[in-house]
Chain length 357, copies 2
Amino acid sequence: MSAALRSRLVARTAEFIDIPSVSFAEGPMVDHLEAELRRLAHLSVDRVGDNLVARTMLGRPQRLVLAGHTDTVPVNGNDRARIEGDVVWGLGAADMKAGLVVMAELAAALREPAVDATYVFYAREEVAAEHSGLEELFVQAPELLAGDAAILGEPTSGRIEAGCQGTLRARITLRGARAHTARPWMGRNAIHRLGALLEALARFEPRQPEVGGLRWREALQAVQVSGGVAGNVVPDEASVTVNHRFAPDRDVDEALAEVRRVVAPYLEDGDRVELTESSPAGRPALDHPLLAALHRRSGAEVEAKLGWTDVARFSARGVPAVNFGPGDSTLAHTAEERVDAASIVAVHDVLASLLAG
Amino acid sequence: MSAALRSRLVARTAEFIDIPSVSFAEGPMVDHLEAELRRLAHLSVDRVGDNLVARTMLGRPQRLVLAGHTDTVPVNGNDRARIEGDVVWGLGAADMKAGLVVMAELAAALREPAVDATYVFYAREEVAAEHSGLEELFVQAPELLAGDAAILGEPTSGRIEAGCQGTLRARITLRGARAHTARPWMGRNAIHRLGALLEALARFEPRQPEVGGLRWREALQAVQVSGGVAGNVVPDEASVTVNHRFAPDRDVDEALAEVRRVVAPYLEDGDRVELTESSPAGRPALDHPLLAALHRRSGAEVEAKLGWTDVARFSARGVPAVNFGPGDSTLAHTAEERVDAASIVAVHDVLASLLAG
């Protein structure tokens, strides 16, 4: 590995940090990438809104997708880059300007990779799922995202996150009967009924199944509770919203059935369970040859991703996907966000080797 | 009892119903009463805002206060009076235009009662306690409300409600620690902690003490619950507001201590119990000679009033007070509100006899 490359990756990470790209304001960052990639004759470049896709078109039997989001969370006093020795500090350093730099470098350097390469730069990952630029691409131009496997450059400290857990939210509404609080026996208190249900949630021990050679850890948590009519009224309705995180051996229907099973003993006629939001899990993907090669060449530890990530969007379309990128995710979204040169170079070199074949 | 009086009471109840006096708009009703009472030379009349007080000033050793509110709940398709046989229908018929008619009739007819009489017509009873016209009088002109005992003309179907239960509201806030819902073991779910507390409220059996010869029935009910940060966050705070109705053998401090005792097993450092609102109970008052005489002369059933009423405002100032009036309170605030002639006449005659001595 050359010292020149190392310096260049560090300098370009600082340069990318200095182009602000908070969610919904990624335009200048995308413009910058687009100008750079359009100068490269070996790439076919398409822009859809603030999403950018650059592809080699070599007719190789396999195609690998490298994808990363261009947006950052809001500024936090660290919107200007600072280089100290081998470390680059600043908003988005790890999440995920360094990953974008690696993609841009590979796109420029590898004119004839052994597999066709698709570089996807997408908008609005750090905000509500409904705004996702990646989803926009899957809906507007799915052909641009076609591929045999995908690697997303989220910060993983150089580890491989194989698949991810799914997530759903469901609102459980319990009914009662109104009465004056001075005569509560004339009614039935719906908030009191929540007690046994919340106790059951507190007691519940979620599964920790092994799937794809990895240990997963499900969760079932109340995230919202509400109820009440007035200060002198026995309330006739109360509800709790739960968030269930589920392992990749279950789809949304099976996960919802688990929630229903847990709460069923506390439901009566008139009560309701409503699914309000769901995203399927991403299946562990290391059995695909391209991702198995990534694992072998990187020597990286493999982890089960307990939170939901965009790998599930590829997984849902039948494209095996993992997260693999420079930087420490626990520093992301903090004022201490940073990335070190060794981490950027290591990811760069593994991906370069993988694409070179 | 003369048929003329009976007709007159019925006609005047209809007349009073036809003068609209929804809360905060009692002016015309008060003007009407004021004009009528100021014509009576044996009464000293004072008006404070939309509250009106008329007193005999005979220097009698005892003074009895008769009090009633002039306001009604909002119109409900029944704002015009309708007389059908012996029944007067209309908004406020029972609650409490018939009671006001009885007061106005007694004020006019009894020039030299055996005890001095104070007739209090007050505004804004049907709305939040903070707007109470009776409280306004107690603050602005307490001397006008001085007396040895008080009878409030709320509809009791001719029964005597001796005293009333107190009421308080307290907010109990439980703390937790935030975490991502994919890693809930890094935090502590405050909504889950509510489970055991709500279970305890559901299980709790309130006291039914005997006080003043009456059986009371306390209550402790959750009336509001809230908590939640975001759909992917283990919440660090959740709260429940309880309404406690307590018998007249306890003051607010003792009642709050009871609430604290019930919830204490579920509290930890950092949790809070806050008193947000309270009104003391009204003590049973039938041991006072004037009210004992009311009981004896009326032959009325005596009841413990489980809800809070304005008798507690007199009780808190050391004036024994009861509710005693024509009409059925279960019809109040409904489109079927009505009062029958027999009920008005019966209350009129008992009070006339009591004042005549």
